[in-house]
Amino acid sequence: MSSGIQVAPVPVAPAPDPRGEVPRRSRRRFARRAGLNVVAAIVFLVMIFPVYWMVATGFKRGQDIFSDPPVWFPYHPTLANFADAIHRAHFWADVKNSLIIVGGVVALSLVLAFLAALALAKFGFYGRRAFIVLIIAVQMIPLNALIIPIFLVLSKANQVDKLSGVIVTYLTFVLPFTIWTLRGFMLGVPKDLEEASMVDGTTRFGAFVRILLPLVGPGLVATSIFAFIQAWNEFIMAYVLLHSPEKQTLTLWLATFSTSRGTAWGSLMAGATLTALPVVIFFVAIQRKIAFGLTAGAVRG
């Protein structure tokens, strides 16, 4: 996989050849391009295969799932696995729980983060730098270490096995991230625009509503989608905090497919597809913004 790429890691102009050798050069170029495409195709297949296998298994009949040699494509597609997954105990309750938790987390962190990001991006004040460092630093705390105290604190407060307890817990990782991301989007709004409008006589609030909000809007949407994805995917905290099957989230629901008698692979893969679906859709919608948010300003040529 690696050998093909190492040959030319960066675009390199061909060595200065005498003019007459164009055909050989272009042939070499063509071979190189073809080679790269083959490597890319292999990488693509290796990476995508697990995802493909999940979806394909979800649509297969039982005898095609449990088959040796494997059936590579659902030639006899069926929705039976999906029906089975949906009709499984607590599916809809757990969908509802996931949505309540995600909705609560996104709403709370967006409001709090918006105010904080506004301060960080649009005001100069004493302690600003310290706060920025703090926001970066708290995102580095390994959350898997925090489960123990969070569980004990919440159990003291009688918040274990309650969605509200999970919502509060999820703020630990969603809120700092949201502040940081929103600040980045707000920095992207040129200050001149606001100042121009304030010179025109608009108040700061007026400038905010008419200038900043429309410009930050897409950033708000992207940030809330990203918060959605994080909260939707979370597993350990919910695993520790939610015990009753009717109070769990979808990621926990997936564990119910494996019993001591074995795993219902067809339904599990259908259920996994359903769990991943909203995330994939949202993710594809905002992925450009994510990559941008992280690298903007990182490279100075």
Partner: protein, 321 residues
Amino acid sequence: MSSRFPAALAEPALVTPRRRRRLASRIGSRSAPYLLLLPATAVIGAVLGYPLYYMVRLSLQQYGLFQLVKHEGEWIGTRNYAQIFHDGAFWHVVVRTLGFTVAAVSLTMVLGTLIALLLAELGPKMRLLLTAGLIFVWATPVVVAVDIWRWMIDYEFGVLNWLLTFLHVGNYNHHDWFVNPWTGWAVITALVVWGAIPFVAITVFAGLTQVPRELVEAASIDGAHAWKVFRDVTVPLLKPIFVILTSLSIIWDFQVFTQVWVMLDGHPGTDYYVMSVYAYTNSFGESEYGLGSAIALVMVAILLVVSFFYIRQMVKIGEAK
């Protein structure tokens, strides 16, 4: 129009609207940022600060089932730490966690960077295809990914087992990967690296597109070999990105839990104990929450060193803006 001049409407003659507004906004500006930060700070303090403080407290306490009922631990000083530091099993766990982290992070960074370089070389169509594939992997929730991999290496009908047997790598019919911890860890590492590659590849690629073309061209006209150009021009320019990605990867992989836990159905053998699993089983399995907290705090302390590099880099970039 009226909303445009809200302050001017009730203006005493002496103070011009403009001066008044300046004054107000200056006073407002002074306290406004703090007021805006207050709610978020309070919440972060409550949901992150307090548990952190509580964890330090717990690590100095005997906190078992009895104390759990009472909601009150018993102070025992540094006995928890003494116990874990004298426990051979603990050091095994630390070494195992470090080993896994080194393997997973280097594989992720190397493969991710290679794929980023590949992306930069491809034509638009092929690049779109590969990016799309990476994004699908990136978007797959971790728990879902673990379930997929469990299915791919299923004892009886795992497609990976079939493929390896078919390719004569060995006989993997009815093969249980987790009997031997080395192959078990190989599977977990593969799963973690597979899931982490897209983030690294796409981020490095985004960085590559920002590298000024003239620099690369100038270097290669000077006769520098492709590898040399990469090493002497591209890597130094992308260093901030590499620092960020490497430290993030270390922090994520060092605290790996879900992949191990779900992969082994919530009953990992001691060969599969990494620090977060060890802290978890000590707390929620053995009901020794004080001991578990001490282990978790050692993990936090180790990662603090890594965080330092990350934070420094992030602050540097922040200043550039």
